[in-house]
């Protein structure tokens, strides 16, 4: 009880902080200098219709590289943690009955879902969504496969290869930007093309696709390691 009381007292104080932030908040009526720059320059400089995508992939590309790395790390460490002191003996996952419907449905649904994922990240520079969302959708296809057949082992090697390959290419493309264009992760070593076209915005679709693949692979590997039994 005393713990709750202390917690409430502390949070009351923190809440006070938040309240003063909230009360001090006045919405901007004009874009600030940074946002204005993005709104004005994204389409001529970068050639992407989705400004958020332009920011994520180009202007703040280093963040995104870091973000992808966060997932890479998490997936790796989740794998490491679960591999700790691997108790053999309980290899089989408990037999959970899987409905016929799910199995059959999956067979048709999973490729469709994955296709949707690819669509989302390929069009990241034009429409809402992109590598992360697409990657998540890809991973949900994998998830479905996992649910349908729990004993199906996902090829860790395949996942790891996709993941690493995409990551390596991502870094390389970043370097192309450094060498051929204005700086690391600059997308303009490829033509920016026409605003709104699929093949536009320089390297953004390429990068976002790689991110999509990589993120998808990372999610999939996390899901797979968390769902599989402790064997590895």
């Amino acid at each position: 009880m005393i713990k709750r009381f202390i917690a409430l007292t502390l949070l009351l104080a923190i809440g006070g902080l938040f309240a003063s932030l909230l009360l001090g908040y006045t919405p901007d009526s004009e874009l600030n200098q940074t946002a204005r720059y993005y709104a004005e320059r994204t389409s001529p400089d970068i050639g992407a219709a989705n400004i958020v995508t332009a920011i994520i992939v180009t202007y703040r590309g280093l963040d995104t590289l870091g973000e992808v790395t966060v997932l890479f790390l998490s997936a790796a460490i989740v794998g490491l943690v679960l591999a700790l002191g691997g108790k053999s003996g309980k290899t089989g996952r408990g037999t959970v009955p899987v409905g016929e419907l799910l199995t059959t449905g999956t067979r048709y649904l999973a490729p469709l879902i994955m296709l949707l994922g690819v669509y989302v990240f390929v069009n990241g520079h034009l429409t809402p969504g992109g590598g992360f969302q697409g990657g998540a959708i890809l991973a949900s296809g994998v998830l479905l496969l996992l649910l349908a057949d729990p004993l199906k082992r996902f090829s860790h090697v395949l996942i790891a290869t996709i993941e690493s390959f995409a990551g390596l290419l991502y870094v390389l493309i970043g370097l192309f930007g450094l060498v051929l264009a204005g700086g690391f992760l600059d997308n303009r070593f490829l033509p920016t093309g026409e605003l709104g076209a699929l093949f536009s915005a320089g390297a953004i679709p390429l990068i976002y696709s790689l991110i999509g693949l990589k993120v998808g692979a990372e999610f999939a590997s996390m899901l797979a390691s968390l769902s599989e039994s402790e064997t590895s």
Binding site: G15, D28, V52, L82
Partner: protein
């Protein structure tokens, strides 16, 4: 005066953060603590998006209705959105990690009670 959408959302975000914190501080079950943290994470994200919201403007995507020329006066601030995307993904990474830890801790001790993992102290 009626609060704006942004202020409403921001207030909700703050409340979610506090609720999450409270849960994390009072629930002794590891998984419940993690659940609480995802709540506060969501709260943070809402606050960030709300801060970039500007009344009467559209999403920062150029299309038929919003062309490049008048984007400056038509779209909202894209930066917070970009930041939130990153934050969400990082949040997932951390959550997955914590879950893996919780799973392994349970495997070792057959318990999810945080108060049972206090050999390291002082």
């Amino acid at each position: 005066m009626m609060p704006s959408i942004a202020q409403l959302a921001m207030a909700t975000g703050f409340i979610l953060i506090l609720i999450g914190f409270y849960g994390a501080l009072t629930q002794r079950n590891l998984l419940r603590m993690i659940v609480a943290f995802t709540l506060s994470g969501t709260g943070v994200n809402i606050v960030i998006v709300a801060i970039g919201y500007m009344h009467g403007r559209t999403a920062p995507i150029l299309d038929a209705t919003v062309n490049a020329a008048d984007a400056v006066s038509r779209v909202i601030d894209p930066v917070p959105q970009a930041l939130v995307l990153t934050a969400i993904v990082i949040g997932l990474g951390v959550t997955a990690l914590m879950l893996a830890y919780a799973l392994k801790l349970h495997e070792q001790r057959r318990s999810l009670d945080i108060a049972k993992f206090t050999e390291l102290k002082w």
